[in-house]
Amino acid sequence: MESIRGRLTVWYATALILSIAVFAVVLYVARRSATYQDLDRRIQSEANLIAGILAESYRARGVLVEKDTAGRPVLISEVAAVLEVVPDYLLVTSQDGQLLFGSPDARSLGFVQFEQLTALANTPNGLASASAPRRYQMPNGPTLHYVNRPVPEAGGQIGTILAGADTRSAELQVAQLVTTILIAFLVGIVPAVLVGRWIAGRALEPVDSMITEIREITDGRSLHRRLPVPMEKDELARLAATLNQMWTRLERSFVALRRFTADASHELKTPLTVVRAGVERAITRPDMPPETLAALEETLQEVNRMTELLDSLLTLARADEGRAELHREPVDLREIVEEAGETGELLAEHAGVGMEIRLPPDPVVVSVDRSRLRQLALNLIENAVKYTPRGGQVSVELGNNDGRAVFTVADTGIGIAPGDLPHVFDRFWRADSARTRTSERAGTGLGLAICKWIAEAHGGTIDVQSRPGRGTTFTVGLPHG
């Protein structure tokens, strides 16, 4: 799940389903046992009621059993007529185990099952009243709960009565309950999950607006801003307060860094200025011996090298801080490439490398920082010439592609090893020094890092493709406008 909101919804739905399931199980178990208790209570009171009727009839008539036409003993017809309307299974037996009466439900059973029922009725329970309800599963027949009750009040004419009931009706009630729960569950879960999702969304709304504000603050220029801390001291308020503390510390260290870069540039550049001033004065004096001049020229080169390194470091330090600013204006990139190209041609001629510059016929106007773009173009061209052996070729091209200005510098030079490719834009990265022309001074190692920053600060991209021994192509894409 991508968002906390989604996860919350899933958790919520899971918890809901689980609790409903537990509820349903508990309800099912409770309902089932209550139904069986009802059933048991019913057969017990039935047994007692029948026993009462039989005892009453005995007191009124003194006789309960007569012979039927086949000569078997049966209950007298008046009593039998009363018992005929009793539902469920009811058997009345004599003391010697003869069946005196069977209710209609009992009679509707198959022969084998009826015999089993009779056997159950003749199992004495050893009590003077109704036994505890028992459960009996008839082979290939219904399951029933039954009680046995002796009827001593009937003057010995009656042995036992059996009252029993099929459990099917009880099971049916419980099954109906389960169906109802399932339907309610299915109907209820969808809106419940939707509502849960909505609640999660509402609860997380402040987090979303917080994210927007944090993004605005973190862009580097708005570090002085703070998140509003809500009045309620809830988790979000604590989060906001913690973030604010973090920004206070970040801001402090940024201010320190800024002061450091300002101090460093001043403290390092002032002595450089002093050295340079001295060297320049001496080197332009008319009557210096050539050896002294040569030493001064070397010093001057070193001063420039240090200045360049210092400027690059400071530029990157400010870029890290998000504070290196661009002075943008609409510029026809052809001017910049042409100018850098002229310098490139001179460098190429010196290195014995061919140079080709292709410019489009129409202006390529982009809003850029002119001096930064010049630096970018020169750096790439200079690099290309530097890593191309005598006799090679450097091609510089400016064009439009896909609504972007595209500047390409391709060479047929030594190329870059695949393992080094991801690192070419790293600071202080340098190709294996053995492979550059020894006559040349090594660069600062910051050139490509700065190129990358310049391209990206303009909202553009810089890419490199290379094959060792075949050459390297740098491509800079800048968005128009």
Binding site: K269, I283, E325, T343, R441
Partner: protein, 224 residues
């Protein structure tokens, strides 16, 4: 022309003072912002240009600039700064500075900018520079040798102009590069050698006397 230089570093200040002095300016040098502000807005001043270091004791360069502009003093100001960040420069320009030079600077660059602010013809450079039959018109950027026109690329022209302006003096490769490449390009190779080779082909080839001479390990000199 009078120039007020406000710079707390004595060596740098003295270097600027002497250099401008040699270029024919009258220069006063002060070491802090307070004093500089007094001089610039006081009556006896009458300066034509101010060269202002931004980091000064007592009163910072930015404050000097702001106070000056608040008082309605329109004196052109050239700012010296060690900061090369754009926002710092933009801030200085917004405060009323007219131009800036980044430390460490080549004196030629400072001089060029002071001259531009003074809006006067280049006193040290006559419109046409001449060395023994070679003529360079700084206005039209035309170059002739013995009356024949020579076509030069912009960089070739810049290098030649620089050498001719300082004719008879050995100019180091670094100084030439800085001048021809706008002071902020260090190619790290002797690119000037290539330009000189081209210039020799166009100017000295099959001609006598040779005008461009090499000084080994240092640079070049144009002399008759």
């Amino acid at each position: 022309m009078k120039i007020l230089v406000i710079e707390d570093d004595k060596t740098v200040g003295e270097y600027v003072r002497r250099g401008l002095d040699e270029a024919g300016y009258h220069v006063d040098l002060v070491g802090d912002g307070d004093e500089g502000l007094k001089r610039a807005s006081g009556r006896g001043g009458n300066y034509d240009i101010m060269v202002l270091d931004l980091r000064l004791p007592k009163l910072s360069g930015i404050e000097v600039l702001r106070t000056l502009r608040d008082r309605g003093v329109g004196l052109p100001v050239l700012v010296l700064t060690a900061q090369d960040s754009v926002d710092f420069k933009v801030q200085a320009l917004r405060m009323g500075a007219d131009d800036y030079v980044t430390k460490p600077f080549a004196f030629e660059e400072l001089l060029a900018r002071v001259e531009a602010l003074g809006r006067r013809p280049k006193a040290i450079a006559p419109p046409t520079l001449k060395v023994n039959g070679l003529a360079l018109d700084t206005g039209s950027r035309e170059v002739m040798r013995d009356g024949k026109r020579i076509e030069l690329t912009p960089k070739e022209y810049a290098v030649l102009e620089y050498l001719m302006r300082h004719q008879g003096r050995v100019m180091s490769r670094t100084l030439i590069t800085e001048y021809a490449w706008d002071y902020h390009f260090d190619p790290g190779t002797n690119i000037v050698d290539v330009v000189i080779t081209r210039l020799r082909k166009k100017i000295d080839h099959a001609k006598e006397p040779k005008l461009i001479h090499t000084v080994r390990g240092v640079g070049y000199v144009v002399r008759a």
